[in-house]
Structures are given as structure tokens and as C-alpha cells.
């Protein structure tokens, strides 16, 4: 990984020197090995930049604010992140002329939560060795298969394609597993309504309404969210009731339906481990099945499915005739 980081830094440095950009939006080291934070680097500080198994944050969201500043920013985008930026560009949420997007390769990011659940306690450092992640901990060494620790979104990696980047950095990395991202959604669809209700109550009742899912989401780019607007009639700071939990999560997913690139940030950051991506993927799956395959961010010219129609669209009753009641 060090080699790749060096390659990224070297290319970033060239771009800064050539005047293509004035600063770099990347990942700065944290206080542990697993907590890097988005950071902006000048040329002199590029040596601080990190890129490893834990630099999972999708930097597209930060482009909204960064692109409003003076000068051009070089942003490092993993393949899936690039779709988020492309979607933001399509929605005129970022000033594209202030951004130089460098696509960087990715071999899947790691989930510290999974590591902890698998018995990694007191982890002090990590290294990667032939498909294994080795943690040095307060209680000894723990080795786990890399695949077991991949973030949910990386288990269903869409591949190595980038959307709308100015340039990509070529670097050979091992292939990621390619699982069907709709598997869990389909399994839920197969259940009875009562089972689905029980599943979602169990998950959504954990919500603490911290809004991390919304605030981290690159598609949630409203200056003021409807849930923060006291005039909207739905503003609420806490889940006083079951209803509010459901309402918030349905509408959060709804507002990004057709625009969500499935980057998985919502589930990654949820402090209560709610599988929020299953709500987004439901909309994506429905859109794909009913209106044709659509990948948000992929095609700058395509009309998003919810501001589009055909006279032959199925009637709403059609979806209710599918699956089990």
C-alpha cells in the first residue's frame, strides 16, 4: 500500500507543480491506524497523506464545500466515489471547474466494526499480508482474512470503472469479490410482510437520529434539510415514536432515490449499525426492474428515473402484485 500511496503523492505533486490544482483533498492520518480523516494538503504536506485499507471516506461530499473556495482542488476518488462526484456535478452542486478529479485504484476498504466483532480487541496497528489482515493488539496478534473484513459496499464492488474523472492512476490491484448487491433485498422481498415489519422495526428502533447517514451522504446536498425545517411539519430532533423512525428513513432514502450511487457511506457511518443501504438498494432494484437499469452518476446526459417517464410505465398496483404479502 505504501507504494501506491507514494505513487498517488508523486502524481499529486506533479499536478500541483504543473498548476492543475492548488491543493489536494485526501485523507490525513488519525490518532489510531483506523481513523484517518478527510484533509486538505498543500504541496509541502503531501507526505502526510495516507491511503490504505481504512481510508474509506467518500470525499465527494466534501467537494461541495471545497469547490466553493478559491482555486482548484485536486480530489482523490476511488472508483465508487467518482460516481458520487459525477452525480453532484450533474446536479450542479459542485463547481466542477474548481475540481481536478484523480481516480485512484482501490482494493476494497476494511470495516473496523467487523474486525471488532471478530474478536480484534485493543488493536494498535495493522498490516496486510497476502489476503490477510494482521492486527497487533494489546492482547496479541490477530490474523483475519481480508475478505471477512471488507465493508458491505466493497463486497458488492461495482468494479474499476470511474465516472467523470479528469485522469486515473493506473496501478494493478487484486480483484474484489463480486457478490450480488441485491441479494439481501431480494431475501427480504421473499419474506412475509409481518417478517419484514419485524426486521425493520428491529433495525430502525436502534436509530438515535444523529443524522450521520444524511450528513455523510453525497446525494444529501440540500442547504437545509426538510427534517431541519421547522416549517415542514416533520422536523424532529429525536425519535419520539416508531412512526418518526420509519418516516425519517423512508424519506431519507426517497429523497436520494434515483440519485443514490450506492456508495454505502450511510451504512458505514451509522453508529448503531443500521443497514441503511438496504433501503437505498430497494429503490435502486425497483428502478432497475421497472424502468430499466440505471446507475446514478454514470451518464451525465441520462434523465434520472424519477424525473422521467414513459407512457408504458407499469401501474403502481404492479409492484404490489409481486412477492409475498
Amino acid at each position: 500500500m505504501r507504494e501506491l500511496t507514494n505513487a498517488i503523492c508523486a502524481r499529486a505533486k506533479e499536478l500541483l507543480q504543473s498548476g492543475a490544482a492548488g491543493r489536494v483533498l485526501g485523507w490525513a492520518p488519525g490518532e489510531f491506524f483506523y481513523d484517518p480523516t478527510p484533509g486538505v494538503f498543500s504541496e509541502g504536506r503531501l507526505n502526510e497523506l495516507v491511503y490504505d485499507g481504512f481510508t474509506a471516506a467518500n470525499l465527494s461530499k466534501y467537494c461541495i464545500a471545497e469547490s466553493q473556495k478559491e482555486g482548484k482542488v485536486l480530489v482523490l476518488l476511488k472508483p465508487c466515489d467518482s460516481y458520487s462526484l459525477a452525480q453532484l456535478v450533474k446536479e450542479h452542486r459542485v463547481k466542477r471547474e474548481n475540481i481536478y478529479a484523480l481516480g485512484i485504484p482501490c482494493e476494497g476498504k476494511l470495516d473496523m466494526r467487523k474486525a471488532r466483532a471478530k474478536g480484534v480487541e485493543g488493536a494498535l496497528s495493522f498490516r496486510e499480508e497476502d489476503g490477510q489482515v494482521v492486527f497487533e493488539t494489546l492482547y496479541g496478534e490477530v490474523r483475519l482474512a481480508r475478505e471477512e473484513l471488507l465493508l458491505e459496499r466493497c463486497l458488492c464492488c461495482r468494479g474499476r470503472e470511474y465516472a467523470g474523472v479528469d485522469e486515473t492512476l493506473e496501478y494493478a490491484l487484486p480483484e474484489l469479490p463480486k457478490r450480488d448487491r441485491f441479494q439481501k433485498v431480494a431475501a427480504l422481498e421473499e419474506q412475509t410482510a409481518q417478517e419484514r415489519y419485524a426486521f425493520w422495526r428491529g433495525e430502525l428502533s436502534k436509530c438515535i437520529r444523529c443524522n450521520a447517514c444524511r450528513n455523510v451522504c453525497p446525494a444529501c446536498s440540500c442547504v437545509q434539510c426538510v427534517f431541519d425545517n421547522p416549517q415542514s411539519g416533520v422536523a424532529a430532533k429525536a425519535n419520539s415514536t416508531e412512526f418518526e423512525e420509519s418516516l425519517f428513513h423512508i424519506i431519507r432514502a426517497w429523497h436520494v432515490a434515483g440519485r443514490c450511487t450506492d456508495c454505502g457511506e450511510c451504512s458505514r457511518v451509522c453508529p448503531q449499525s443500521i443497514p441503511l443501504h438496504l433501503l437505498n438498494r430497494k429503490f435502486i432494484k425497483d428502478v432497475n426492474e421497472l424502468y430499466g437499469e440505471y446507475q446514478a452518476g454514470a451518464d451525465p446526459a441520462a434523465r434520472p428515473p424519477l424525473v422521467n417517464y414513459t407512457p408504458e410505465d407499469p401501474e403502481p398496483s404492479a409492484v404490489l402484485e409481486r412477492g409475498r404479502a
Partner: protein, 348 residues
């Protein structure tokens, strides 16, 4: 006071027996997250060996949302109905030293004049059993605040230690004694195993990366203005997303908002947790006093490290539990902030 021990295999029986003292709240896994939940709920698994629950025990005394008063409209009449205070006793079992200190922090806020009677009624009806830590995590930094996780001290009725084979309990109040008397499985025990566990845990504590986090610039005697104007805030807060995951996971954050909900037949006044990270925090007619995320971010950390200690005899309102370390989506947590402010300003 004397030490008692019971067979670890009989913990289930203990929980059942504690039911005689009220509802029993235990560190519990449910649906892939953990919190202090009532014992025996379907689909839940009580587990005393959990180091820290995702949600702190704060909820038991200061719930995320609670009803205060109901206004019911019938014609021109408005009937007021105040929400009931806690009347049923309950047992909170397995509070770690950091979370226990957090209760002390909350007490000083809610039990000071004017006393918050909702909070007070819950505190009075609780029997709190603290539990020593045997296997601290790398994200723990309670020792930096002078907390000894192997021997919890604070507003509790008993302290417990969980070893491979036994649960040890040392009551420290009369309420604590009732725990021993309500379960026949307790027998007087000696300190040997507890002392051995403490020694082993302390050896680990000595190796915690931030166990000795430098807090000398903070606290009661700190230079408030220098910290307020510190150049590091700009960069530290630059990528804060303004969500409330830190505040809502924090065992000591105590800010709340009071709102009215129109039920169609009346009005329900409730209070709910609020977060100083939110841009509508303390929104008033003229707007909000902290207009940028930098100001909001700074407020949260200076409150923990400076303002609260200055008002409370030096007691920090961070207890080093490390939840923010694990929860912040952008990893902008207490350790990062304390390090950035504690040392020399970073070169730009």
C-alpha cells in the same frame, strides 16, 4: 465493605433474582448493536463481558425523548396533565468506570438547583452496580481523567468484577447490600482473584496509546481565551459533518431541546436530546449564536475540557470512554482534538 462472590454460570439466576428489586437493565446485544436493555427481552442477549455498549447508560436517567406535559383542548378549556415521574425502582447493572463518572457529571447538571425532577426521580429509583474492566480497548483513555477502570468509583451502590469463573461484588450502600441478600448464590470471598484481575488489567492500562493523554492545558486553570482562539480549530473542524453521532453516543452530553407536538387534539410538550453540532442548536428568533461549524465544533470540545471543569471544581465532562473515537464518521474525536490543542500548533 465485604466482598462476595458467585458462580459466573449462575448469572442468569442472579438477573432473575434481581427482578425482585425492580426491572433489571444489563449491557445487551440486540439487532447488531448494544445498549442497556431490560433483561429477558426477546431477541436480546445480555452480556456482561461487553466492554462498552454502543449506547451509554445515560438513557436510563435522561432518555433521548421524554414527555413533560400534555395540554388537552376541549372547547375553550385547556387541561394540563403533567407527565408522571419515575415510580418504579430499577437496577442498572454493569456500568463501567467511565460511564459511572459520566453519571456524576450528569448529576452535577441535573441535580443542581433548579433540580430536574424527571432526572432526579430516575436517579432515586435506581440501584447502580458498577463493573470493573478486565480488558480495556485501545480507544479507552479514562485513565487520563484519573479514572481507575479496575476499581470503579462514583455514584454506585455496588462494584462488581467479572472473572473467568465468578462474579465478585462489593456493596457500598444499603441498596447495594440488598443485591447480596436477594440472591442466595453469593458467598463471602477473598480478594485474591479480584486483585489478580486488577493487576493484569492495570498492566494493559499502562500500554494504552492514550492512557496518559496530556490534558495539562485544559481544566479548571486553563487559559480559556488562548484555547478559544487556538489556530487548530479551523483545520480540526473543517471536515466535521455536523451530525450528532458524537453527542448522542456520548455518556455526558446533556443538552436538550423542548418542543411541542400537535396531536390534533391537544399539544404534547416533550424534550429530546439536542446536539451542539447541529446548526439549529439553540435557535432563537434572531438566529443561532454559533453560525459556523467551527464555532459549534469548538463549543462541544471546550465545554468538555474547559467550561464544565471551570464550573465544577476541575471535573472534566469527558470521561475517556472512547465512543466518539469509534463513532465519528469523520474520525474527529476527543483524542485528536486534545492532542491538537494540547501541544504546539501544527505547522500550516
Amino acid at each position: 465493605m465485604s466482598l462476595y462472590a458467585m458462580d459466573r454460570a449462575r448469572l442468569g439466576e442472579l438477573y432473575e433474582a434481581l427482578g425482585a428489586l425492580g426491572r433489571v437493565y444489563l449491557p445487551t446485544r440486540k439487532n447488531g448493536a448494544s445498549a442497556f436493555l431490560p433483561y429477558g427481552e426477546e431477541g436480546s442477549e445480555a452480556d456482561l463481558s461487553l466492554l462498552l455498549c454502543d449506547k451509554s447508560p445515560k438513557d436510563l436517567f435522561f432518555p433521548q425523548s421524554e414527555e413533560l406535559v400534555k395540554f388537552r383542548l376541549t372547547g375553550a378549556e385547556i387541561a394540563l396533565q403533567e407527565a408522571a415521574r419515575q415510580k418504579e425502582p430499577f437496577v442498572l447493572f454493569g456500568v463501567k468506570a467511565c460511564d459511572l463518572q459520566a453519571i456524576e457529571v450528569l448529576d452535577r447538571v441535573f441535580l443542581a438547583e433548579p433540580v430536574d425532577s424527571f432526572y432526579q426521580s430516575r436517579r432515586e429509583h435506581a440501584t447502580v452496580v458498577a463493573l470493573a474492566c478486565a480488558r480495556p480497548a485501545e480507544s479507552c483513555f479514562c485513565t487520563a481523567f484519573g479514572i481507575d477502570p479496575t476499581s470503579p468509583q462514583g455514584p454506585c451502590d455496588a462494584v462488581a468484577w467479572l472473572t473467568e469463573s465468578a462474579l465478585y461484588l462489593r456493596p457500598c450502600t444499603e441498596k447495594g447490600e440488598t443485591i447480596v441478600s436477594c440472591f442466595a448464590g453469593f458467598a463471602p470471598a477473598d480478594e485474591k482473584e479480584v486483585a489478580a484481575q486488577q493487576a493484569a488489567a492495570r498492566a494493559v492500562l499502562g500500554r494504552l496509546p492514550y492512557g496518559q493523554l496530556d490534558l495539562s492545558r485544559f481544566g479548571e486553570a486553563s487559559d480559556e481565551l488562548a484555547l478559544f482562539d487556538h489556530p487548530a480549530w479551523e483545520e480540526l473542524s473543517a471536515h466535521c459533518l455536523g451530525c450528532g453521532s458524537c453527542t448522542f453516543s456520548c455518556p455526558t452530553c446533556q443538552c436538550y431541546d423542548i418542543r411541542d407536538y400537535d396531536t390534533g387534539k391537544g399539544v404534547l410538550r416533550f424534550r429530546c436530546w439536542d446536539s451542539c453540532m447541529y446548526k439549529d442548536f439553540t435557535m432563537m428568533a434572531h438566529g443561532t449564536p454559533r453560525k459556523t461549524q467551527k464555532e459549534r465544533f469548538r463549543q462541544r470540545f471546550l465545554h468538555k475540557l474547559v467550561y464544565y471543569p471551570k464550573n465544577n471544581g476541575g471535573l472534566f465532562s469527558c470521561v475517556g470512554c472512547g465512543r466518539c473515537v469509534k463513532k465519528c464518521p469523520a474520525n474527529l474525536h476527543m483524542i485528536r482534538v486534545a492532542k491538537a490543542l494540547g501541544g504546539e500548533p501544527r505547522a500550516q
